[in-house]
Amino acid sequence: MPGLEDLYKEIILDHYRSPRNRGELAVPPAHRVEGFNPLCGDEVVVYLEVADGRIEDLRISGQGCSISQSSASMMAAAVKGRTLDEVRSLSRTFKAMMSIHEASLDGDAGTAPEASAAEVADGLTAADRELGDLVALRGVLKFPVRIKCATLSWNTLLQGLDEVAAGVPPAEA
């Protein structure tokens, strides 16, 4: 089926069928945050353990379509163990990729500097390199109603990081 392969790349289906870091963490010490996509009823729950400016551990639960669940799985694999600065930078880069407008309009759209000699050589931008497997989700842009599915887990994670930074007590499970 042409078209569908753009959306459902093999790596996406792999994360959907075998989600990484799925489960829950004890609250506290973990912080729990929920995100909803009101259009489709998808929900993602992120459990976060932040220490020393780093995401020490993270688990994902909830339910949703292949795009929201695989995006959450890929996000979990990408941010676990990273510093908060790295995570925020990655989230900016990812959300810039998932926005048709942001990448060009938002001057703060992550780490997308001028193309280097290395980029010219292998065709990958610095942003692509930072995103790694997450680049597979770029195909979602051709299906605009699904973009929110792909960004749901990231927005939920960012809300959780803000809550942790602000000292908001963990939500009841």
């Binding site: 569908l4 489709c40 339910q63 379509c65 292949s66 669940q69 599915c149």
Partner: protein
């Protein structure tokens, strides 16, 4: 367009009906468009579009104000639509037919006008677990303000209202507000029985008839309704216009909802007096062209015959159930009652563990349009223990080939996602 073999066995000539809908000639991804989302919004036949177009190009003006010829014509057309609606639903008088933006606005109108005047702390409003958000949220908003109690009739496991709970829930109620036909489960509710139960305790009955008026002959008196709402766009008519029907004495006693033009008789700097029914509730310039479209849609449906429409949908429901389960077996689960006679032309289903969004995405490759999500009924989704369903719904222009396309697409979705 209309075909009746024998008066007792009404049937539809679906091929002829399909040709009345230009959009059904369209191809998507190189395939014939198969539209199975009429429960969300129906397509419009040429007769409706042409009626609106002709009116707009020959007689359009604002209504009720001008004395010139086309203003008279526009007013006549607008009020003729009201009279047509009144006859179509068995209203005692056109004055009982209030045009609104849609059914949602109709419910909000009752909540704000009737509810504010009649509901106090200690009062009870009863709704059900199968309602569309439009028949829950307005009451929650008002309950937060007025301090009355909101109760919900629970469901049986096969998706019907649990009427055993009704007497207890209705105790002290002033209003029972319920859908005539579930937009998710397809369940046809026993409206007359509900009306009698409500009236026995002195409560009124509001009927959300969005999924009923387009599909089954509707008679507000036979139903025993006190208020009834529906939208034109689900019954082959245009968006932007809906109907609130209410009994004259109730509408008469209610304060107005929106303030503005047309709804007033006189305005002074220290106050105003209201216009007569139904204009008391029609503030501002109304959807005039859309009223003409609604009139044409009713003419179209009436010419087909609601009995024939209903018989066609029941027959397609039977076909869909046997085709879906015959090909996909127990891996496909249809929610709601199993007897097609007890449900409308709607099937919400789960297929393997493929998410409804993904089902809908794959079906789109086959040009099959179905809805995926919670269908604005999240309390019902919670009751079913799921986040979303895929929903196919059929109407006068659908046939067995459309159902076959759905089944083929679902089989492909199953293969695509493996299991």
């Amino acid at each position: 367009m209309i075909l009746t073999d024998e008066p007792t066995v009404p049937t539809l000539d679906v091929a002829a009906i399909k040709s009345d809908f230009a959009i059904l000639e369209r191809q998507v991804h190189g395939k014939r468009l198969v539209y199975l989302d009429s429960a969300a919004s129906a397509q419009k036949p040429r007769a409706v579009l042409e009626a609106m177009d002709t009116f707009a190009q020959t007689s359009y003006a604002n209504v009720h104000r001008g004395v010139y010829t086309i203003a008279e014509e526009a007013t006549t057309a607008y009020e003729a639509a009201r009279t047509r609606v009144a006859g179509f639903i068995g209203a005692a008088s056109p004055a009982e037919v209030v045009f609104t933006k849609n059914a949602t606005e109709g419910i909000n109108l009752v909540a704000n006008a009737w509810g504010r005047a009649n509901l106090c702390p200690g009062d009870v409003v009863v709704s059900t677990e199968m309602e569309h958000h439009a028949n829950i949220v307005p009451w929650q908003m008002l309950a937060a303000e007025r301090g009355f109690e909101l109760r919900f009739v629970p469901l049986t496991d096969d998706g019907r209202l649990d009427l055993a709970e009704l007497p207890r829930l209705l105790d002290g109620a002033k209003l029972l507000t319920v859908t005539a036909a579930s937009n998710v489960l397809g369940t046809l509710n026993p409206v007359r029985e509900l009306a009698d139960a409500a009236h026995a305790v002195g409560a009124l009955l509001l009927v959300d008839a969005c999924q009923h008026v387009p599909h089954l002959a509707t008679d507000v008196a036979a139903m025993g309704a006190d208020f009834l709402v529906f939208s034109a766009h689900k019954m082959l008519g245009p968006t932007g216009i809906g109907v609130l029907w209410g009994r004259t004495e109730l509408l008469d006693a209610m304060p107005p909802f929106l303030g503005g033009g047309e709804m007033i008789r006189d305005v002074r700097l220290d106050g105003f007096t209201c216009n007569d029914l139904p204009w008391k509730f029609e503030a501002g310039t109304m959807p005039i062209i859309e009223a003409v479209g609604l009139h044409a849609a009713i003419d179209y449906l009436d010419a087909l015959g609601l009995d024939a429409v209903r018989a066609h949908e029941v027959q397609l429901s039977d076909y869909a159930r046997s085709a879906l389960q015959g090909r996909l077996g127990d891996s496909l689960r249809i929610y709601g009652p199993t007897d097609s006679a007890l449900r409308g032309g709607v099937a919400s289903f789960a297929y393997r563990d493929v998410h409804p969004h993904d089902i809908s995405q794959v079906l789109d490759e086959y040009a099959v349009c179905v809805r995926a999500g919670h269908h604005c009924a999240k309390p019902l989704m919670r009751r079913l223990g799921i986040g979303a369903t895929a929903r196919a719904s059929w109407y006068v222009y659908n046939d067995e080939a459309d159902i076959d396309a759905l089944v083929d697409g679902l089989a492909a979705a199953g293969e695509f996602f493996g299991a």
